[in-house]
Amino acid sequence: MKLQTHAWPATYERDGEAQPRMGFFTDTSLCIGCKACEVACKEWNRVPDSPKGFTGKSYDNTVDLGANTWRHVAFVEQHKALGVAEAESLVQSASLEQLIDSTGLGTYQDGDGMRWLMASDVCKHCTDAACLEVCPTGALFRTEFGTVVVQEDICNGCGYCVPACPFGVLDKREEDGRVWKCTLCYDRLKDDREPACAQACPTKSIQFGELGDLRDRAEERLAALSDAGAENAQLYLHGDQDGIGGAGAFFLLLDEPEVYGLPPDPVDTTRDLGSTWGAVGVAMAGLGAAIAAAVIGGRR
C-alpha cells in the first residue's frame, strides 16, 4: 500500500531528514467519549476555547472540527441491536439455556437495543492534500513525517484552503484571520513524543505510530471485530484507493461514515484541476482559432 505522496518523502531525502510517515489510527470501538483528547489538544497547542452553549446533540457540545477545535468527539445515539460480541457472550448462551417462562409482564426493555457511538475526529493529513495544493503562500506544507501543517507565521489568511478541504477541517479563526488546524503535534513529534491527544486517551482509542504499522494493526482489529459479529464495522480512509489517496489519520468505524457526520466518499478537490486546465486549454485554443478565423475572415 502506498505511503508516499507525490512529493514526500522525496523532498526531505536530499538532506536526509525524511522520517517514517506518522499518523493516527482512531479505533472508535474503544472510545468511551471522555473527551480527554479535546482537552489535551487545547492545553498543549494553546487552542482557545470555543464555547457553543448547550447544543442538545447528545453529549456533543463542540459540534465540529474548526480553527479552535482540532479534536472533536462525536456522540451518536442509536436505537438498534448491539450485535457486537453479544451473540457469542456468556450472557447470550445463558439466556438461551436458562430462560424461564416469560409469560406475564411485558416490559419496555424487551428486545430493546441501544447503542451510543462515540468517535474522535481529527484532520486527516491526506496523502493528496488539497489544502496544501491551493495554498499560495506556502504556509501549508508537508513535514518530514508526512503530515500537513499550517505555519502560523506565514499564513496570510487568504482562506483558499478552507473550501478546498473535503472534510471541512480547515477553518479561519475569527480573532486573527488565520487558518488553524491539527498539526499532529509537529513540535512533539520533533521531540520524539506522541501527540497530546494520543497520550491522553485512556483506552487506546487514539493510536499514534508509523502509518504502515497502524494500517496493519487496523486490519487485524477489523478482522477480530467482524469475527465477533460487528456487521457494519469498517475502516475509513485506510487504503489508498479513495479520493484523497488515503489518509495519515484514519478510523475504524462501527457504522457508515455518514452516521458520524463524515463524508462517505471524500475527493481531493484539486484532483481534477489538471484535466480541468487541459479542457480550458482546449477550449481556449478552439476559441482562439475561431477568433483568428473570424478576424482573418473579416479581412476578406
Partner: protein, 847 residues
Amino acid sequence: MAEQHPVGFQWVVEAKERGATVIHVDPRYTRTSAAADVHVPLRGGTDIAFLGGVINYILENGRHFTDYVRHYTNARVIIKPEFQDVAELDGVFSGWDREEGVYEVSSWGYAGTSGELAAGKSKQTGDVSGDIAHGAHGMKLEHGEPPEEDWDLEHPNCVFQILKRHFAPYTPEVVEQVCGVPREKLIQVAETLCRNSGRERTSAVCYAVGWTQHTHGVQNIRAASIIQLLLGNIGRPGGGIMALRGHANIQGSTDIPTLYDILPGYIPMPHPDSGDSFDEFVELNGPDTGAWGSLKSYATSLLKAWWGEAANPETDMGFDYLPRIDGDHSHYPMMLRMIDGETKGFIVIGQNPVVGSANSGLQRKALANLDWLVVRDTNEIETAAFWYDSPEIESGQTRPEEIGTEVFFLPAAAHTEKDGTFTNTQRLLQWHFKAVEPPEDCRSDLWFTHKLGQRVRAKLSSSQDPKDRPLLDLTWDYPTQGPQDEPDAEAIMQEISGRHADGSFVSKYQELKDDGSTTCGSWIHAGIYAEGINQSARKKPGGEQSWIAPEWGWAWPGNRHILYNRASADPEGRPWSERKRYVWWDEQEEEWTSLGDEPDFEPEKAPGYEPPEGVKGMDAIKGTSPFILHPDGLGWLYAPQGLADGPLPSHYEPHESPFPNLFYGERSNPTRQTYEREGNDYNPSAGEEGAGVFPFVLATYRLTEHHTAGGMSRSVPFLAELQPEMFCEVGSELAAERGLEHGGWATIATTRAVIEARVLVTDRIRPLRVGDPPRVMHQVGIPYHWGRKGLVTGDAGNELLPIVLDRNVHISEYKAATCDIQPGRRPRGPGLQALLDDYRRRAGVRR
C-alpha cells in the same frame, strides 16, 4: 465507571478485549453502558432487590462455591435462636425499638456469645463510631472460634439456611415488579456471574457512590459482598469489590480520615461513655482475636506519633488528650446545628456544600447563621459567594445586608502545585510531585494547616489551662522548604509510616508495640517509608515487572495488593486452580508464597494450624481463615454486629418513592435518619395524600466533563465548554407526556425547591414497568455540576433533594427522590416562592 473514572476504565476496556463480559446495572444508559456487553436499567433505589435476586438465584440453584463458602465464610455459624428475620416481623429484624428508632442487637449474635456492644451497650445507634467500630471490628470470641457451627450447613439457624430463607422471596418475578428489570435479564446476569466464578474463574464488582447515596447504601454493598463471598470472588485475582470514589483521594481521606468519628487507620474516636482509661478503650473497641487484637499497639503508636514524650503514663499515653465524640457530628447534622445557632464557625477546604450537598437552600441557610466562614479553594466557589450571590438573593427573599457571616476566602494551591499522595480504589498510594510553585497567595492545604497550628500554638504558648495542653504538646516540628516555607510532605509521611525507638523506620505494622517504643501515625500505612524510601513514589513501569506491579506505588497494608489473598488458595493451601494461582503454601519452605504479592496472612502459619485454648490476636486465627480483620477470620455473609440497620440487606423503598414495598409492611429503612424541619419537608410517597404531585423518580449525578460540585472544572474553559449548561435528561415518552421540548427548558420541582434546566430528550433514559400490577414509571436525570459561579452556570440540581440519611454512614439519598417536571423556565422574583408554595399546598405539606 467510564463516566466518572475514564482513566480507571481503561482496565475494563482491556479486560473486555481479553474476553471479559461487562455488565452495567444503572437506571441510566451512560458511557459505561455504551462500552458494556449488557446494560440493565432498573428503578433507582432498588439495588438490594436486584442483588437479592442474584443471591436467591445462586442459592436456589446451588451455584455457590461450596468449599470456599464452608471454610472461609460464616455460613456454618449458628445464630442465636431468638433471632427473627424481616419476614417474621413485617419488615424489621428482631430487637427493633420503634420508640427510640434503633435496634437492640443482642439477638443477632452468634449462638453462645453475649452479643454486647461497646461499653456493654446493646443498642446500635450508629451516631458514634465506638458503637459501630466495635461491631465492625468484631465481637469477642474465645480463641477466635464461633461457639456453635454446622459444617454441613443444614442447621436451620446456621447462617447459610438463614440466608436461603431471607432471600427466597427475591424471585425473578418479584424482582421484575420491584426493579422494572425483566426476569430474563436478571437470570442472564445471575447465570453469567455464576459461570464466571468458581475454581477456574473470578468476577469483580465495581461500584461508585451511586450505591452509597441511599438510605440503605451500606446494605447495597453488603449485598454485593454476599454475592462475592458465595461465589468465592474475594481474596482472589480478578475478584473483589472495587469502591470507585468520588474523586482522586477519597480513599486516602477515609484512611487518614477527614471523618469525624474515626482516627487514622479506622481506630474509633473515643466516646465519653466508652471507658475512662486507655486500657478500657482498647478493651471495649477491639476484639481479642484477629488483626484488631493488636489495637493497643496501633493506638499507642499513634498517640506517641502525635504527642511524643507527652504521651506518657501521666496522660494515660496521651489518651486523655484525645477529644471525645458525643453524638452525630457528620456533615448534615453539623449544618443543621448551624441553623440552630449551636455551631458558630466553619472551615471549608476542598468542598462546595451549597452545590454538592443535598438541599442546597438549607446549606446556605446554615452558612448565613454563622459568625465566621473560611473557604479555601482554587476559585471563589458558590460556598464562598453565598452571601451576595444565591437563588434567595436573586429572588429577593434575602439581601446581603441581612447576612452577618464574616466570610474569609483563602486561595488554595492546586494538586499540581504541591507534593502528596493519591490513594486509589485498590488502596494504592501514588506520590505526586509538585510541578510548579503555587501563584501569588495560593498555598497548599498542608501549608495552611501547619501555619494555623503554629499560630494557634503561639497564641496559647503562655496558657496554663489544662485544656490547651493537647495542642501545646503536639509534635508540631515539621521541616519546611522552598520559597513559601512549605512543610515537607515527606516528613509527614515518615511520621505516618512510623519509627522505632532508635529512630529507624518501621517496616510493617506487625512491628508496632504497645509499650510506647514505636511511633506510627497510621498503622495501616506502617512501612510506607520503610528503609528510608518513599515507597509510594516508586514508579517502575508495568512492563518491567509482574502484572501485580508491586513496585508501582505502595498499597496498604504492607503493600498487599489483594486483601485476604489467603483465600486464593484452598483450605490445604493449594491454588484453587492453575489458572487462578496467586498465593499458596510452599510445603518445602513451609511458608506462604505468591506470584509477586505480599501474602495477607502470617507468613509461616501452616494451613493446618488450629488455635490452642486461650490464645489471642493473630494466634487465634486458624490456618484456614483468610479474613484476618474479623475476630473469627471468616468472611461475613451475615454481620452479627457492626451495622445499624440489620445483619442482612433487605429491600426498602427509598424515603421518597412512588411505590409501596412489595415485600412487607415496613416501607423504607426504619433506621434512616430523617429531619422533619422547615426547609426539609419530604415529598409524600405512595399511599400518602399528595403523592401524585411528585410522580417521577429523580437522581442527581455527575458527568465526565465536570468535577463534582464544579469548583475545579466550571472555571476551566476547556472543560466548561464541553458541558456548558445545566440540563436534565428525560426519555421521549415522558417528554411527550409533559410537552417537554428537546433543547428547550424545563422546570423541576420538589417540596424543597424549584429549579430550571435545559432539556435533553434521549432514549438513554427509559421508562420502566414497575409495581404490582405493573405501571409505567418515568425517571428524571439531573447532572448536578452547576451553580452561580464559574464560566458556565445554572441552577444546582441538589437544591431539589431532601436531607435523609443512611444511619450507618450518614450519607444522604441523592439517587432516589421524587419530583415533578413541567415545560418552560421557572419564575424569577417572588413568583418562584409562589410556585414552590403551590406545589407544597397541592402535596399537602403544611408548615
